[in-house]
Amino acid sequence: MNSISTIGILYSYAPHFTQAVQYLHQSYPNARIIAFVPPSFPKEAISAYVAKQIPCVPEPQSPKTLRQSWHLLQEIRTHSLDLFVVLFKSSRLQTVAALSGASESCCYNLSGNLVPIRLQLLHSFIHSIAGRIRGQLLYWRIWINVHCTTISPKPLKGASQTPKETPTPSNTQGKHHA
């Protein structure tokens, strides 16, 4: 990865996005880093580390459409990247990586490692489908086990119970509002 001069990083609603940008800036000090971010992303958060921020990623809360994905891919491919970085190794992001036109693609994972992504589309697709079929069969086997057998409980004698209700404010349903 020594001859890398242009790096693209795709924003994900992930705790390690700014960490990843800093890591790339430190690891490739001479490379031009382009961040593909949502329009609402505050430029100042990563402006010290990237050469350019392109607001072409749909907002995390908004529904994803095929048209948006097409535009995003077109924008990414415009820059003829040497390295394209995503933050999760999901099938969707692997597909984006495969179609990014970059010479190399990597995933910067939550552990802080840059892991190469294999760009074998057909292999990934077949692997994904086979895994899903196996997963479905396994799930339903377990479902039958759990729902068709019963356990007679033997509670721990003398154990205290955690109070069921803890008062929470009306709007603490996992949404954050500044």
């Binding site: 705790p15 960490q19 190794k89 377990i142 759990v146 721990l156 154990a159 404010p169 603490t172």
Partner: protein
């Protein structure tokens, strides 16, 4: 002195961890690292056995040379998925080292099987959160409130809840550690309920993080010991001169993006407080800086070291958790930094913060009570200084790793080893 006894008698302690990674993946890794390091520095011969699952990222990712104590990696091949085969490998590795006692640290459902496989040793088992009582995950938190069920009292409900929660992970082929353990241990099976109970029987000692967790162990309370987590001995704090009119900072640190941590409670308290005064700001270590708005500042992603530096500029620390927080590291770090702490009256936070002495405890999820305490503290700088100083003293005397190991782990190990030597049924493995 235990150290002398153990060295003379060649006492060996095997630590076995099913999830350890270094650099750490979480608080349990940090806890284990410090305990093993301090015990090792006390001259106790130990080896940390780390189970490394081939092809699974994040579990057992350790470079032994990076750690200041001996580490042995137990490799589990990719095709070894059943608990019988996994526990056999662990048992063989541990037996070959011939320890006098085994300290079983972090693990999920597989831990019960491993405990039974190592039951021929005096066995200490450490639980870091609610993994013993919750089948779904280590949080025991459901529908925005702590769950009142536990696996031993409501096994049927708990295993159905676990299956529902893990459905998408089981169906996909990208599974996290909890789902991996759930499948390998066959924790969905009826028989696992018996295994879990037998594992508790096999343990000589069960370490938990707070008094509430101990009470929930019921008939096993006599085996339970409360040992909190700890902090590194902090550097002397350089008092920063803050002008009387400066904008005061209320700081919330940690994984504040996790709904369990109660950021919403703080934000609601902030809204209430803003109606009364405007001489403060709220700073939180949220990874997404887009949340910053008005007097609320989301710092963006910070390393642990960077997050610690924010304490120096802060005036008050808030820990508004709405789950049964097992320990509450952030509260201790803030106290060590000389800050008064406003924390939820829940879980381990109740043991850490002394109400009215080192800060205030408010009902979990109550923004009105939190806003009142914050108002009091923002108004009275002398009170902040008094509570902060008392907090620092408490944190340094009770929660540094050196003191934790000296006060809790060394006496515990001594008791276990003496017991094993006097009890023929618990003779050290020869």
């Amino acid at each position: 002195m235990l150290t002398e006894i153990t060295i003379q008698q060649g006492t060996r302690i095997a630590l076995v961890d099913l999830l350890f990674a270094w650099p750490p993946n979480g608080g349990a890794d940090v806890d284990l690292y410090h305990v093993a390091k301090e015990l090792s520095e006390q001259g106790i011969p130990l080896t940390l056995f780390v189970v490394q699952f081939e092809g699974i990222a994040g579990r057992g990712q350790v470079c032994p040379a990076d750690l200041p104590f001996p580490v042995e990696l137990i490799s589990i091949p990719k095709n070894t998925k059943h608990h019988h085969a996994i526990t056999a490998r662990i048992r063989n590795a541990v037996d070959a080292w011939k320890p006098n006692a085994v300290f079983l640290t972090h693990g999920y459902a597989l831990k019960a099987h491993v405990a039974l496989a190592l039951a021929h040793y005096p066995l200490i088992s450490r639980y870091y959160a609610h993994e013993l009582l919750c089948a779904r995950n280590a949080h025991r938190f459901k529908e925005n409130a702590p769950c009142s069920f536990n696996y031993f009292s409501h096994p049927q409900e708990c295993r159905q809840c676990a299956l529902t929660h893990l459905r998408s992970e089981i169906k996909s082929h990208e599974r996290q550690a909890w789902a991996q353990d759930y499948l390998a241990a066959e924790a969905y099976q009826k028989e696992y309920y018996i295994t879990a109970g037998k594992a508790l029987d096999a343990m000589t000692c069960i370490i938990v993080s707070n008094e509430t967790l101990k009470l929930e162990l019921g008939e096993y309370q006599h085996k339970a010991v409360v040992i909190p987590g700890g902090i590194d001995t902090p550097q002397a704090i350089q008092e920063q001169e803050k002008p009387a009119t400066h904008t005061k900072t209320i700081y919330m640190a940690g994984r504040v993006d996790d709904p369990l941590k109660g950021l919403d409670v703080l934000l609601e308290a902030n809204t209430l407080l803003k109606k009364k005064r405007n001489d403060f700001q709220v700073v939180a270590t949220h990874f997404d800086p887009r949340l910053s708005k008005g007097n609320f500042v989301a710092t963006g992603w910070l390393s642990h070291k960077e997050a610690l530096q924010y304490y120096a500029a802060a005036d008050i620390c808030v820990v508004p958790s709405i789950w049964q927080e097992p320990f509450g590291l952030v509260a201790v770090e803030a106290m060590a930094a000389g800050l008064p702490v406003c924390a939820s009256h829940i879980g381990g936070l109740r043991d850490i913060v002394v109400h009215g002495e080192t800060g205030y405890l408010f009902p979990p999820g109550d923004p009105v009570a939190l806003a009142d305490f914050l108002d009091t503290l923002l108004t009275d700088s002398a009170l902040r200084a008094t509570l902060g100083a008392a907090g620092r003293k408490r944190a340094l005397s009770l929660y540094t790793w050196k003191n934790i190991v000296k006060k809790h782990y060394l006496p515990l190990l001594k008791d276990i080893l003496v017991q094993s030597h006097t009890n023929k049924g618990m003779q050290p493995h020869e």
